[in-house]
């Protein structure tokens, strides 16, 4: 339960922190940390407008997106705090729930018969397909490393005998990149872009409004918190006292958000056709990590 509460709290801050970092770095006064949530709350209280062409899918898909991301967050451990749902092979359910959310996003974007939304959908489907192996390769590496089959124990890297902070950092790096790709942030996609042709996530929700848009945004905040918690779990020793873990967890989350903010401030986005290369590079780094783990375990 603590894990879920921590994830929830994180999801309140991360998006705001990113925006705040960006505004400070660019020398603007900028909105407060809670501004993204305030926007969402406004959205939740607004009425709904659907496209004339759209049918039932537009009406239910956002809800499924939200529900599946929310359920997938039940399986995420937070530095030693056990998740609510944990069983052997839960990472498969986790990855496939995220995929279910993607499936629903894509078909919802086609429902309005738009000439733009399919563009984002096409990219989302392709990038999602390309990045999925990275997560699984990391997990395969961790399965060898820890001999466990559940997210709640797999990410207890610091408890292992051969642990070295370097593993934690590499895994954090890969998961960080997965976060950027899954959430369509710079350098894959720029959430602040104004041009439909270059959007990924934003273009898919062009015809989504009010409550539906609100819950889709909440789902994306959740996704940040989920991946952030995974990163925190790989870095923080699980056997520390409770208050230390919470403090360190908060520190890691803030650092994570600030780093994303910095990346978005100083890095430009890739040309669309360079993205695939970038995503494959991330996947290959995860394969490298896998090989390194094989070496540490003397499997060669």
């Amino acid at each position: 339960m603590t894990a879920l509460i921590l994830i929830l709290i994180t999801s309140f801050f991360t998006a705001g922190l990113i925006v705040r970092t960006k505004s400070i770095v660019s020398g603007r006064k900028g909105p407060g940390v809670f501004q993204p949530w305030k926007n969402v709350l406004v959205l939740l209280r607004k009425g709904l407008i659907y496209s004339e062409i759209s049918g039932i899918i537009s009406r239910i898909a956002p809800v499924i997106v939200f529900a599946s991301v929310a359920i997938s967050s039940l399986m995420i451990p937070v530095a030693g705090f056990k998740p609510l749902l944990s069983f052997n092979g839960d990472f498969i359910l986790f990855a496939y729930l995220v995929a279910l959310a993607r499936f629903m996003m894509i078909i919802a974007s086609f429902d309005s018969g738009s000439s733009f939304e399919g563009m984002g959908a096409s990219r989302e489907a392709l990038y999602g397909m390309l990045i999925e192996p990275a997560l699984f390769v990391i997990i395969a590496g961790l399965v060898i490393f820890t001999g466990q089959f559940s997210l709640s124990t797999l990410f207890d890297l610091p408890g292992e005998a051969n642990y070295n902070l370097v593993y934690g950092l590499i895994i954090s790096y890969i998961i960080g990149n997965i976060t950027l790709i899954e959430n369509s942030r710079v350098p894959v996609d720029d959430p602040k872009t104004h041009l439909e042709l270059t959007m990924i996530h934003e273009v898919m929700v062009l015809d989504t409004s009010g409550f539906n848009l609100g819950i889709i945004q909440i789902a994306s905040f959740f996704k940040f918190a989920i991946f952030g918690s995974l990163i925190a779990s790989t870095l923080i020793p699980w056997n520390l006292p409770v208050h230390w873990r919470i403090i360190l967890f908060a520190a890691v989350q803030i650092l994570f958000a600030v780093i994303i903010g910095l990346i978005e401030s100083f890095r430009t986005r890739f040309k669309m056709n360079r993205n695939q290369q970038y995503i494959l590079t991330v996947t290959l780094i995860s394969v490298l990590l896998f090989v390194v783990i094989l070496f540490t375990k003397n499997i060669f």
Partner: protein, 653 residues
């Protein structure tokens, strides 16, 4: 056996002489009789602990493996027959009556032969049943023989099946040396005293041609689009699974070389799965796309089988039991959602009279039930929770990760490849099914339909929703089936599954909890939304056109554009060709042109067309001897006799 054949012949005769309407009822009644009898026997067989030999007369032997397959076959044949009663209605007017009757007759024979195949161990009877199955399905495939390409696809299917049969025959004969008569039971002895490799490979080729493994798959993408939809559903749902049955049957007899055979099956299945889905994405013909997806799913089933064999080699019961269980469950699951998809695709084709998805769109409004059925099938086949495809993939993943946890390097490489391909297959299937569902059912129609599409008739909708029930049940409550499934797997492959059963049961109950809470959360958020927007009227407005107001339906995203980036990525493996548009010099205003893109199956062009071309050329050259003059033929005769004399004289023969 003989009585059964006589019974079938009598019904055949009956159907051909009576009127069309009663022929339908006779077919239904016969299928129902066969279904009831065989289901009762198989359920008895599943319940009784040992292989019940006494249940059936002589050549038939029923064990749990055959019982499992018979139950799958029965379910899909029932839904297929029900669907056909609706699907064939438009054909009743413009097809000759005897052709419809022949179609139903072939359906009965296909069903009966599919039931017989898993029950027979005796090689002679087995091959007869196998052959009846091929012929019956051939007749079913060429139902629309007056359409272009149908007959050709059918004949290609017929030829390839017979090539497969030669392999099975050869393997049976080889393994039965020194025995009185050929039978699968001889394999037990043969495999214990000989190298397992070659004969397994022969069987794998023979059965793999039916199942559609990589390099042996070329008949599938031709035969399925040619056949009527219920036939595609039955063939893809269950008939190709009999190839899987054959491979599983052989696997139960294996006694050595497990590591190599397992690695071989895993690698070939990984390629099969990836190739199937990669080709599927680029197809615009909806039934061809589904056919390639059958290849993909055969790959997934093969991965399970390969992992199972692999696990035996390292003595890892968890690995092999979960692998085999995953393969068996995926066989069942695929028969459900693939027949469902073929049926709903058939309903769509019946209304819009084309198989090209680019000419469809917006059908969810016209045919909501069919749309829902197709959506459920799409989610299930992409292996997403909370539907059944996820459960079988979960089992295969569990098996994989268990193997990865206790690694030896050589084996790890194989398992790693298997994992990567399974993950990629999942992602690619998602890409493919979001494409096909969205383009067919969502948005607006891209071209004018020949007539206003209407919802399919009741029989068709009913048979589309019949498989939905188990799809949803297995997906939400895998706890109910996991224990029987593992007991079944354990008894078929003589594995000890009690330890696995406990941990799997725990995982499956958590998956059930996850699925149910997903549903609850979904409903809860829907209710909250209704509450939150209660003050407003839900409004509709035009789709965002970026300020452009004259948006028309041709500007929607199409299937080709949706997979454009993927097609570029896949270019090294699958060449996408397109017809060029050249403008002539005196053409000031562009005239109307047609533009086609196509992605060819390189296996078909390299493995089938090229050799066939070569042989045909050879024959053409040999045709110089065929002069048509009697004198020349007499001369050939004389030369031949001389040759014989000479050879005898030299004591060569």
């Amino acid at each position: 056996m003989i009585y059964l054949l006589i019974f079938l012949l009598v019904t055949a005769f009956l159907i051909m002489v009576i009127r069309q309407r009663s022929a339908l009822y006779v077919t239904g009644l016969t299928i129902l009789t066969v279904v009831v009898v065989s289901s009762v026997i198989s359920i008895k067989c599943l319940i009784s602990a040992d292989t019940a030999t006494g249940l059936l007369p002589a050549p038939f032997i029923c064990d749990r493996l055959s019982a499992f397959f018979i139950l799958i076959i029965n379910f899909t044949v029932i839904t297929g027959f029900l669907y056909s009663t609706g699907y064939l209605k438009p054909y009743l007017k413009n097809k000759p009556e005897k052709w419809i009757k022949l179609h139903y007759l072939a359906l009965i024979w296909l069903h009966a032969s599919m039931i017989m195949v898993p029950l027979l161990r005796n090689g002679f009877w087995f091959l007869i049943a196998w052959e009846i199955m091929t012929l019956a399905s051939f007749i079913l495939v060429i139902f629309e023989f007056d359409e272009k390409g149908t007959l050709k696809a059918g004949i290609s299917y017929l030829i390839q099946m017979h090539v497969g049969m030669v392999f099975i025959l050869l393997a049976l004969i080889l393994s039965s040396r020194g025995f009185n008569g050929v039978s699968f039971d001889n394999l037990d002895f043969y495999f214990r005293h000989n190298s397992n490799w070659p004969v397994f490979l022969l069987f794998f080729t023979g059965f793999g041609l039916k199942a559609g493994f990589f390099l042996l798959h070329t008949w599938l993408p031709d035969a399925h689009p040619a056949a009527p939809s219920h036939v595609s559903g039955i063939m893809s749902g269950v008939m190709i699974k009999l190839g899987i049955y054959g491979i599983l049957r052989i696997t139960t007899y294996l006694s050595a070389d497990f590591a190599q055979i397992g690695a071989f099956v895993i690698i070939i299945s990984a390629i099969t799965g990836l190739f199937g889905v990669m080709m599927a994405i680029l197809q615009h013909d909806v039934k061809k796309l589904l056919a390639y997806h059958s290849i993909e799913n055969i790959g997934i089933i093969g991965l399970g089988i390969g992992l199972g064999i692999f696990g035996i080699s390292s003595g890892n019961t968890f690995l092999s039991a979960a692998g085999f269980a995953g393969a068996l469950l995926h066989t069942l699951n695929h028969s459900l959602f693939k027949s469902l998809l073929f049926y709903s695709a058939g309903s769509v084709i019946n209304q819009v009279h084309t198989r090209d998805v680019e000419q469809m769109g917006g059908l969810m409004k016209f045919m909501p039930y069919t749309g829902w059925a197709f959506l459920i099938g799409s989610v299930a086949i992409s292996g997403l929770p909370p539907l059944n495809g996820f459960i079988s993939e979960f089992l295969i993943y569990s098996s994989l990760f268990n193997g990865i946890a206790s690694p030896e390097f050589n084996k790890l490489i194989i398992l790693f490849i298997a994992m990567l391909s399974l993950v990629l297959i999942g992602g690619l299937a998602l890409l493919c099914f979001t494409k096909v569902f969205s383009v067919i059912f969502l948005g607006q129609n891209r071209t004018a339909y020949p007539h206003q599409p209407a919802e399919a008739n009741k029989a068709m909708i009913f048979s589309q929703f019949l498989p939905v029930i188990p799809v949803v049940l297995i997906g939400f409550f895998p706890v109910l089936i996991i224990k029987p499934l593992l007991i079944l797997t354990g008894s078929i492959f003589s594995l000890e599954t009690t330890a696995l059963s406990g941990s799997m049961f725990a995982s499956m109950s958590y998956i059930s909890i996850g699925a149910v809470s997903l549903l609850f959360l979904f409903v809860a958020v829907l209710i909250i939304r209704t509450y939150a927007v209660r003050k407003y009227n839900v409004k509709t407005g035009p789709t965002w056109g970026c300020g452009y107001t004259a948006v028309d339906s041709r500007q929607q995203y199409t299937a080709t554009s949706f997979v454009q980036e993927y097609a570029n990525l896949a270019q090294p493996v699958i060449k996408t060709g397109h017809s060029n548009i050249n403008y002539s010099d005196d053409e000031i205003f562009a005239e109307k042109r047609e533009f086609h893109t196509h992605s060819d199956d390189f296996v078909k062009s390299k493995l089938i067309f090229k050799p066939v071309e070569f042989v045909l050329n050879l024959f053409r050259r040999a045709a110089v001897f065929q002069t048509g003059r009697l004198q020349h033929y007499v001369l050939y005769l004389l030369l031949f006799l001389l040759l014989i004399f000479l050879l005898t004289f030299l004591k060569v023969i």
